[in-house]
Amino acid sequence: MTVEKLKEAVRKILPEVDVVIGYRQGFDPLHATPFFMTKPEQVDQLIWNPLCVQNLCSYLPFLKGKVGVIVKGCDSRAIVQYMQEKLIARENVKVIGVPCLRVISVKKVMAAINQQSVQEVTFEGENILVKTPEGQKTIPLADVAPRKCATCQLATPLQYDLLAGDAIQSNRPQDTFEETKEFEKLPLKERRAYWEKEFDRCIRCYACRNVCPMCICQDKCIAESRDPHWTSQRANVTEKSMFHMIHGLHLAGRCISCEECERVCPMDIPVAKIKKKISMDLKELFNYEAGMNPDDTPPLYTFKIEEATIKEHEL
């Protein structure tokens, strides 16, 4: 799909809504930034390429009026989950779907180019070409894609009112949670040491929470409430871990695996691993994946006397 097709779609939707959320170039050639378009002339600045990483759906529950939004396949699970939880009025959202096979991880690119300033970025076939003061580097997109792209099942969004381009299929393998299973084989002591080291870096900026499409409490988060005073303001690893466990558990059966939490962490803590473990458990316990079908009820939002996939103790 070309950016021209996307611009055409946005121009078509714009008169029907108050704002369309898309992407424009950010502060350097490696960063895209969310772009709120209200006037037709702004559409010229719209971009579409693998740098367009942010899940723009996260803004929807906080916006009033009619909103148009550019949505990738993975992001579209947020729309479905919002519909399940009645967090958006679907008729007020115009979803512009974009077929997508792969985005890039800015962090992985930065690691590949020695954290240099980026002067120019171009895409050629399956490669990203990055120019820095040290020279130009050609990196295969697959090497710098976020983890989620390796098991992408949704090259075309689940929900859209208008699809910019043709629907495509992903031929990637399904996520079998191998990494999580391998990690679980480690002795408890080692896993604990791993997380203590990782969480120790947390500065409690709550970027992971605020970017999360399903973290809708935000200003009323129990991580910060004083009454009741669940977590203290001490900067120790116990308090930091506590917050991340709360974040993870509140997403059980709701996390749509967009991995935005991990993408935004300024301290590079692999927080999506926790959510992945919980998603794996939900799959095993309830044979459930969040954000796939608007008519589903998240398993922890409901109660069954007998769960088909959970073997109870013999009574």
């Binding site: 950010g26 772009f35 300033s117 500065i203 929470r209 970017v211 935000q218 200003d219 935004v264 300024p266």
Partner: protein, 347 residues
């Protein structure tokens, strides 16, 4: 003693080892892909190739610190009587921040005006600040998003540092700024640096020219921002993508706001001071439940306004932004404070 020093690269670990015997030394090290200031110990490999993800501000202004401990004591003779014992700890260890960047060190100058140069100095900040020597490494290349030369600073600016060091081909050129800095140069291993001064200056000029210039001047900007204070449309437009997290604030070498919390279990407890961020809704939440900054555009407006208008208005025109670029580089949605200022100038 020579006025400046030169230290061959291979002698740097020995210098840090020697300093570690007298000071607690914090230096940037690599943890995964993240550069952090950590307590230096013999054998630790430093990462001096780029600024730390988190500036060293926490070494003087900790993310969370105990102001004092509280102990409630019941009178065994009369259980209705309780006395309170308060214990504060103002004993701080001599410290060196090694390998700070010029922007990081200038951050402390922003704090000094608020915490030291007032009628009542903050004893915790003062205690740590006075005991800390800051050794700053000049930048040899700009980092993504940084713009120090546009806010009246530069990649070799010495304000706030005690000792400046510049990386040259075979070693580091050292130039003391304060008496504390001169003390460090008395350590063994330094050669006379005078032969390298010119080379270092040339390196500084070369980098300065490469730094991004998002705006030509800040003259009139504090007044312009004030005049835009009630222009909600402007601020809503500029901040629409902000997710109102605290990454920009906590990574900022000049953000100094804090929160106070009493943590008590049973009869003992402590009063804690921890970083706070004007990006959070509860930052301005009042006891009445009224919140004067209920919307995120009001909050980000405050962040921009504080740095580029209110602080300079209060402190003789000093801009409370060192242009380190961290808030831009690490923002989840690439909000660019320099772009907002440029837009405000043109609004």
């Amino acid at each position: 003693m020579a006025e400046t020093g030169f230290l061959p690269k291979e002698k740097l670990p020995a210098l840090l080892d020697a300093l570690s015997k007298k000071f607690q030394v914090f230096a940037p090290v690599l943890e995964g892909d993240v550069v952090l200031f950590k307590r230096f110990a013999s054998g630790v490999e430093l990462c001096l190739t780029r600024p730390a993800n988190l500036p060293p501000k926490g070494i003087i202004f900790p993310q969370s610190e105990t102001l004092f401990n509280v102990n409630f004591k019941k009178d065994p003779e009369d259980l209705k009587k309780t006395s309170v014992e308060l214990k504060e700890n103002l004993d701080f260890a001599p410290t060196i921040i090694f390998g700070s960047r010029p922007c990081d060190a200038q951050g402390f100058r922003i704090y000094d005006r608020v915490y030291l140069e007032t009628d009542i100095a903050d004893p915790y900040y003062k205690g740590r600040r006075e005991k800390t020597t800051i050794v700053t490494l000049t930048c040899n290349t700009p980092s993504p998003g940084c713009f120090c030369t546009s806010v009246g600073r530069g990649p070799a600016e010495s304000d706030g540092s005690d000792l400046m060091m510049t990386e040259l081909d075979k070693g580091y050129f050292f130039e003391p700024i304060t008496e504390k800095g001169k003390e460090i140069l008395k350590e063994g291993g330094f050669e006379d640096g005078s032969a390298y001064k010119e080379q270092a200056q040339k390196a500084h000029e070369k980098v300065s020219a490469l730094v991004k210039k998002p705006f030509a001047t800040l003259e009139g900007t504090p007044e312009k921002l004030l005049s835009l204070f009630d222009n909600n449309q402007f601020w809503e437009g500029e901040t629409a993508k902000c997710i109102s997290c605290g990454a920009c604030t906590y990574l900022c070498p000049t953000c100094y706001c804090f929160n106070i919390t009493d943590e008590q279990v049973g009869n003992t407890g402590e009063r804690i001071r921890s970083w706070d961020a004007c990006m959070f809704s509860h930052f301005t939440l009042e006891a009445s439940s009224h919140n004067p900054r209920q919307n995120k555009h009001q909050r980000l407006k405050n962040r921009v306004g504080h740095k580029f208008s209110y602080y300079p208005k209060k402190y003789k025109g000093v801009i409370a932004c060192c242009g380190c670029g961290r808030c831009i580089r690490y923002c989840p949605v690439s909000v660019d404070i320099s772009e907002i200022v440029a837009h405000a100038q043109g609004a």
